[in-house]
Amino acid sequence: MNFLEAATLVRGEPPVQQLPFLLAMSGTPETLELYVRAHAIRRGHDARLRTLPFNTLPQTLLSPPQSGERDVFLLLPWDLTPELDWRSGLPAERPVLASLRRAAAQRCERLAARPNAAVLYVPAPVPPVLGIPRDDRHLEHLLMTIAGDAGADCLDGGLFSLAAYLAHGTPFGGNALSAVAEAVVAAALDRPAAAKKVLITDLDNTLWAGIVGEDGIEGVSAAPQGVGYRHFVYQSLLAGLQRQGVLLAAVSRNDPDLARGPLEKGGMALGPEQFVAISANYHSKSGQIAALAESLDLGRDALVFVDDNPVEIEEVQDALPEVTCLTFPSSDEHLPGFLTRLNELFPGAVVTAEDRDRTAMYRRRLAGMVPKDLAGADVTEFLRDLQMRLRIHDRTTGDHERAVQLINKTNQFNLNGRRWSDAEIADALAQGGRLYTAELADRHGSHGEILACLVTAAGVVPALVMSCRVLQRRVEQGFLAWLMSRYADGAGELRLLFEPTQRNTPLRLFLRELSLLEDADRATAGELVLGAGQVPQEALALFQIEIG
């Protein structure tokens, strides 16, 4: 949750159910309060939190709790041993490890004895007070153990920001406030969020490295080597969750056979039999997930969705706010935190025979159901929120390396699958053709040049491709609407040299949307005439079109 989202939630009507509690921390809590209120609202409560005057945490520990109020202590190492406070500088004399340990243990004993209190501990790095690196590291571990023994829930030490703490006394930077607040609210509610039941994973670049539609079944990897390693570790965790009764499902924008291919080929930690369902089609992922929840007869709040693409995450979160969405890490450095979060959502328990059989049980249930027509969520509003900018480049002269690369490596949204050499492109351009590319950006950043189109002087389109990364954004509609407006004064129509290929289903579905094909599955090669007015103009409103 970011700042503006939290502010919007807090400005709305508060829930009826109140959540009074004391947030006890030694740093300044003001920046955290907004997020605490917002997370409480998400969980159906109006947080009525009391905070402490600056630097009065030790006195609070010595005072009895207020009647009927829950205490949530959010502690840092220097709340256990004040000598470790960065803001005090290093002590003139080096303290002794044993005395630090004793002081921390005494304070934690008081905490453990305090009725109706929850303790969160952030194992922030401590200043090198002991002067020997090994001892200082040992001290950090020791404090975490003491806090843990007193019943503290240890959060990620990386949430602490020394810069924020030194600058203004708040121990957390703006990027960490939401995660800290979420833990505070869970502690105030005295129960973790209900354990989830279903993990729904994306496939390409999540369950495995690579895009099966582009790289082929042999080209993707989740092996314990090279680029596959992160995905191998993820799959091994999923395999363990499935054994303890968690249902696994997959959603993908892909052809069903292609999506299942890598799992059926074998050699991965997971096989298709471990999934209760593998949903692969070209509907929105939120639509696929909603249909899956209905088929399984499970509430959406029991679902966790994992995807590497932040846009897919946002689309699902926007359409299905009850679903917990996690972004698959883009680097190995973020893998441990991601896996920890997954384990938190699916806490291990005693595994029963029924747990082990749960996947098979639900598979039997799904096998007996009539497939539903997946209407999919209307993502127009979501797409509008993305504030997309489509910059169209005329690459007729100058560099057209990226355009040729796109045409020659794209399989799924490809008009005919034809590959072009540089010389062939140059020849087409010499005869009056024009080569366009389109570059997409949105409020998340740039997606680079994702579309290429070659048009001859006679208005024939022998090449039109678009990266599958942006399939759901209606870029193809926006671009064709723009292109038609350019050619309306001339031929008034475009003729598309279409040919079905094994993999260009997304392109065929698009042509069917334009009424150029009757049946996307039984299309034959030919010249398709696209007249003015055949391309929906609404898509243009989703983009700010710029000419590069």
């Binding site: 700042f3 503006l4 003001e30 810069a163 924020a164 600058a167 203004h168 708040t170 703006g174 409020r443």
Partner: protein, 79 residues
């Protein structure tokens, strides 16, 4: 700064300083705005860090005394 980021920054200022529709956030500065105290600066920094996924260090925080300064700070981070 691109138009989207500028709009987000204006929304942050509106929210942190609770500005009415008749106030243009771009005119705000610490000297003339009574709500702009040290706590507001801290809130502003936390909001900018959250929305733009940046870190603001203490030296940069000291320069943060107007909408233009916030814009310049983000410009300096390539936003």
């Amino acid at each position: 700064m691109n138009p989207d980021n500028a709009a987000t920054l204006r929304a942050i200022f509106r929210s942190v300083f609770e500005l009415g529709d008749d106030v243009d956030p771009e005119t705000l500065n610490a000297q003339d705005e009574p709500k702009w105290d040290s706590l507001a600066t801290v809130m502003l920094i936390a909001a900018m860090e959250s929305e733009f996924q940046v870190s603001v260090d203490p030296a940069e925080a000291l320069q943060l005394n107007s909408f233009g300064a916030a814009q310049a700070l983000l410009d300096g981070k390539g936003l």
